[in-house]
Symmetry: C2
Subunit: 133 residues, 2 copies
């Protein structure tokens, strides 16, 4: 079984341009070529492309994924796990930050009657004036 770039992209659920972009950026090894110059792919490349797609879903950047692929090739389980843990930490940080924003906004909205004089609107006041928070 052998795939054209279009077939590969379809199987993996990404765009053709994305496949070439990944190749250019070292996430996929340079593909084998036909005499015509057309790229050909096998099952390995499909697996790798799907790996990339899943890792992205889990919040890894392409940079992260490059490392992950290298560690995976070296079978370095400990460092794969450590990378996942770092990513988990990042995500926790982002969640915390969003929750901070969320509660700030929630407080403001709850305090705003949604009508009446605009200088009594806590949202506008919070944005306009000096404050501690």
């Amino acid at each position: 079984m052998s795939l054209s770039i279009g077939g590969l992209a379809k199987q993996a659920g990404v765009a053709i341009d994305t496949v070439r972009y990944y190749e250019r950026n070292g996430l996929l090894a340079p593909a084998g070529r036909l005499a015509s110059g057309y790229r050909r792919y096998g099952a390995e490349e499909l697996k790798r492309l799907r790996f990339i797609r899943r890792a992205k879903v889990l919040g890894f950047t392409l940079d992260d994924i490059r490392s992950l692929l290298a560690l995976s090739a070296e079978r370095d389980v400990a460092r794969v796990r450590a990378a996942a843990q770092r990513k988990l930490g990042d995500i926790e940080l982002r969640i915390t930050e969003l929750e901070r924003i969320h509660s700030g906004l929630r407080t403001l909205i709850d305090a705003c009657p949604g009508h009446g004089r605009s200088d009594a609107c806590p949202i506008l006041n919070a944005l306009s004036q000096e404050q501690d928070a």
Copy 2:
């Protein structure tokens, strides 16, 4: 009291280039000028710039903020509140998404002993193989 662009930027805690960028992009009105062409600012502009900075902290995009400023000028409290509520919804969505990612990663990490054969590493397996999740 009157401020140069540098003074304004400093008071508001943003970069000079950012002030000019905001002016170019309609978040700040075109500044008054001295005969030399130097921009001059008053207290109003400082308030407005701080408004922008705070709104950004609360997760509003510059586009959002442009609307917010317009609504604020029109004293349209109801629509300000509605905009804040939409933004709250966005943020909730982002939190939910991150939590989904978080729990996926957490499960994988917890299942991974961090040593041993790489083909027994749940993280690599999850990324490499077909799966439901």
